[in-house]
């Protein structure tokens, strides 16, 4: 198990070995999960603990593995789109977009400008919805129950808007290779703007209720500090990376879709209440990102160009065998990557999806040493891991 020259306990991952080790140590091994209210899906944590203080927590992933990548190699390019919804059902629009972009690069399809704008609007609304779940459940894991229904209430409005757009409230299947399935309905801009106006006020309320709450800050300050170097070492992405002080956002630094047309800030953790990269910073970065998403949605609605929402796409999508394409997008959970190699027929030969949550799971064991049991729950929540995205 262990590489030479390293502390064997640092790389140990098997539950059986842990059991053997702690047999005589007087410590306790508790299974936190796979059915536990705070693991955010079907994940198991082997918690080695001495009373309230933990020695470590070892994440066990794989309970939600559905072989989505393999399915991608057994169905046609366009037919795989609904499956991508299930990669990350909290933020399905991004998983759609990653696949659409990878295929568009594979088949050299130019997406119309209006379709790109529709994608940005849908994705940013979805980002707000996803972050609302994240901050709401994080508050709930720290014991504040009320912010969660508030967050879900706002998310319902977004679900209504997205349902109007594509007919679905969770697994949208809105994007198509070469554009989007439907144009914005009549009067959509006004309804989205009304929501954004309302939501920006709610964010202020939300900050007053929980973000600046003394007990909440005390619980999260200095918890699970991920330094800049550690974050880069563990390949963290998205809000988790930015909270550690790394100013990196694909929407700005490797621009794609229509993002170069918009002005927005990239919030970066500053350690306002504790150390840079602590759990509070991760929470705070998400609340600020919701604000920025509102700005982007406003600009996109303002600049929305006329035109078609679908490119001319051949009926049979086929690329020379062995050609490959790669796409990176900034999902709600960070850098999401699709790598696809074309197969002989109308199916991919190989598909690989890289998601943020999987890497975030890797850092939990390191951060969990010596913290309290209650802190583990807050730590998992602060990394915003989503079980289906870990396992795929």
């Amino acid at each position: 198990m262990s590489a030479p020259g390293t502390d064997p306990s640092a790389t140990m991952t098997s539950g059986k070995e842990v059991l053997k080790r702690i047999e005589y140590s007087g410590e306790m091994l508790v299974n936190m999960g796979p059915q536990h209210p705070s693991t955010h899906g079907v994940i198991n944590f082997l918690v080695q603990t001495d009373g309230e203080e933990m020695t470590r927590a070892i994440p066990e992933v794989g309970y939600l593995h559905r072989s989505i990548e393999k399915i991608g190699e057994r169905c046609e390019y366009a037919g795989f789109m609904p499956y991508t919804d299930r990669v990350d059902y909290i933020a399905a629009m991004f998983a759609n977009q990653g696949w659409a972009m990878a295929c568009e690069r594979l088949f050299a399809i130019e997406v119309p400008k209006r379709a790109e704008y529709c994608r940005v609007i849908a994705c940013e609304l979805n980002r707000i919805a996803s972050h609302l779940i994240s901050v709401g459940t994080m508050a709930m894991d720290v014991g504040a129950v009320t912010p969660f229904p508030y967050a879900l209430r706002e998310r319902e409005f977004i679900n209504d808007l997205l349902e109007e757009l594509c007919g679905a409230r969770l697994t949208y299947n809105y994007l198509r290779i070469g554009g989007v399935a439907f144009d914005l309905p009549d009067g959509y801009s006004e309804r989205v703007l009304r929501f954004v106006d309302h939501f920006e006020k709610v964010l202020v309320e939300f900050d007053r209720l929980i973000t600046q709450n003394r007990i909440f800050v005390e619980r999260l300050r200095g918890l699970g500090v991920i330094s800049r170097a550690l974050a880069i070492d563990h390949c963290l992405v998205g809000p988790n990376l930015r909270a550690s002080g790394v100013d990196w956002d694909l929407r700005r630094d490797l621009p794609y879709s229509a993002y170069p047309d918009f002005e927005f800030a990239v919030p970066v953790g500053t350690g306002a209440v504790g150390k840079t990269g602590d759990a509070w910073d991760r929470f705070w970065v998400r609340t600020r990102e919701m604000q920025e998403s509102c700005r982007i949605v406003r600009q996109a609605l303002q600049k929305l160009p006329e035109g078609p929402v679908m490119a001319k796409v051949p009926r049979r999508l086929k690329a020379p065998e062995g050609t490959d394409a790669f796409s990176r997008i900034e999902s709600a959970r960070g850098d999401m990557q699709y790598y696809v190699v074309a197969g002989p027929g109308e199916m991919a030969h190989r598909l690989k999806i890289r998601t943020g949550s999987f890497n975030a799971m890797g850092i939990i064991e390191k951060l969990s040493r010596g913290i309290m049991l209650a802190d583990l729950v807050a730590l998992i929540a602060s990394l915003d891991v989503v079980a289906p995205e870990i396992d795929r």
């Binding site: 306790m28 209210p37 894991d141 720290v142 014991g143 504040a144 007990i215 209650a374 802190d375």
Partner: protein, 431 residues
């Protein structure tokens, strides 16, 4: 509350005749004497036992029904706070939800997990229930309504409240579940620690009144806010808050609900329970809200004292006036207590939870030293005001004014928030 109404109807008829019944014994004694039965006869002993059993029955049911109603009330209040509707199907505004829940829980299977310590597992909820029901013996409801005005009232209340911890520990340990064990160990540490500041804070009104009896402490106060012990001096004000915080912690209420922290421990010490035994734990939790609020009301907020009517004149009243004012004093006591209960619910649905080390440091580093210093300060202050009584008046006046100022500022803030929210505020809809 409805049980309190039953209790009052039982004793009202006698209150009209015997002007000042201080205890059930005196009450029954008075009744028997009125019928010409001497205290020495065996019939009298039998009647006394029967009466005490009846009172015990009323008290236990009163506690249970209060807890049941609170379960409905809390769910409705929480729902309003969270922009939800809450239970609104069973009866008017969903009021009978608690009865429906109780019936459901009674009919559920009483599961005992494999490997559990069966006898302890079965007994644990009763420990909780007994500790909780015993508190109602010494809790006043109004001027005359109290099961037994014990001479050691406050001491007794503290003692039987601590009994709950036995049930918590027993349930957690006997469940043979690590999560339950976590919950019960947390709870034991928490309850034992917070008993110290709670006890020291209660010492302040005891010092001021010179008695441990709950009715005695209420009688030492008055009806107007400046006559309450909470506004007597700064240490008493601090003691009120310390008692309130400690009571929250002892009752396992948020932000101190670590023993049943559902996001960490699934459900805490009662994880493995089901059916009726499970409902006992919740009965105790909700009922404890009344207990802690009623005690705080009695010793700090003037209890049932009516403004402008001192206790001695109240005692002297007979007939219709006595009955009428008795009901008013009961209503006033209930109003004060319910306000505190509402604050407890409000805190629960607003605040995050403390971590176990923060909980302990709050208790041992802040509450315990402050409560000890407060008790000393009050002792000194009593000597000072004995020498210069005008200081007493000034201090009470200043603190009451401060309290009024805080309330005014709070109301203004609330109104300005309501204005900010504008048409998103919906108080009347969706009941």
């Amino acid at each position: 509350m409805s049980a309190a109404a039953t209790a009052i109807s039982l004793s009202l008829s006698t209150i009209a005749k015997t002007s000042n019944p201080r205890s059930p014994e005196q009450l029954v004694d008075g009744l028997l004497r009125a019928r010409g039965i001497e205290a020495s006869s065996p019939l009298s002993t039998l009647a006394m036992v029967a009466a005490l059993l009846a009172i015990a029955f009323i008290v236990v049911n009163c506690a249970a029904i209060a807890a049941g109603i609170f379960s409905w009330l809390e769910r409705r209040i929480a729902a309003r706070m969270q922009s939800r509707v809450g239970p609104n199907r069973v009866g008017p505004a969903g009021f009978f939800q608690w009865i429906a829940d109780a019936v459901k829980l009674l009919l559920k299977e009483d599961l005992i997990p494999e490997g559990a310590n069966v006898h302890l597992f079965r007994a644990a909820p009763y420990f909780m229930m007994v500790g909780f029901a015993c508190t109602f013996v010494a809790l006043p409801f109004s001027h005359a309504l109290i099961a037994a005005d014990l001479g050691v009232g406050v001491f007794y209340l503290l003692a039987v409240t601590a009994f709950v911890v036995v049930g918590v520990l027993a349930s957690g340990w006997s469940s043979n579940s690590k999560w339950s064990l976590f919950g019960s160990i947390r709870s034991a540490a928490q309850i034992v620690s917070y008993e110290i500041p709670a006890g020291m804070a209660l010492l302040v009104p005891v010092l001021l009144a010179g008695t441990l009896s709950t009715q005695g402490i209420i009688r030492a106060q008055g009806g107007w806010p400046w006559q309450w012990f909470v506004f007597h001096d700064p240490a008493a004000l601090a003691a009120f808050f310390i008692y309130f915080i400690s009571a929250l912690a002892e009752g396992n209420r948020a932000p101190f609900d670590l023993p049943e922290a559902e996001s960490e421990l699934v459900a805490g010490y009662n994880t493995e329970y089901s059916g009726m035994r499970f409902s006992y734990f919740f009965l105790v939790e909700w009922g404890n809200m009344w207990v802690m609020s009623a005690l705080a009301t009695s010793v700090f907020l003037g209890g049932w004292q009516l403004p402008g009517l001192d206790a001695a004149r109240f005692d002297a009243l007979t007939g219709g006036a006595a009955i009428g004012l008795e009901i008013v004093s009961l209503a006033l006591f209930a109003l004060k207590t319910m306000s505190l209960v509402f604050v407890i619910m409000w805190l629960r649905w607003t605040l995050p939870r403390l971590r176990v080390d923060q909980l302990m440091s709050l208790c041992w580093k802040y509450l315990v030293p402050v409560s000890f210093a407060g008790a000393l300060f009050v002792a000194g202050w009593m000597l000072v005001v004995r020498a210069a009584p005008v200081l007493d008046l000034l201090m009470r006046g200043a603190l009451t004014a401060l309290g009024a100022l805080v309330v005014t500022l709070f109301v203004r803030r609330t109104l300005s928030n309501v204005r900010d929210v504008g048409d998103r505020l919906d108080v009347r809809g969706n009941w």
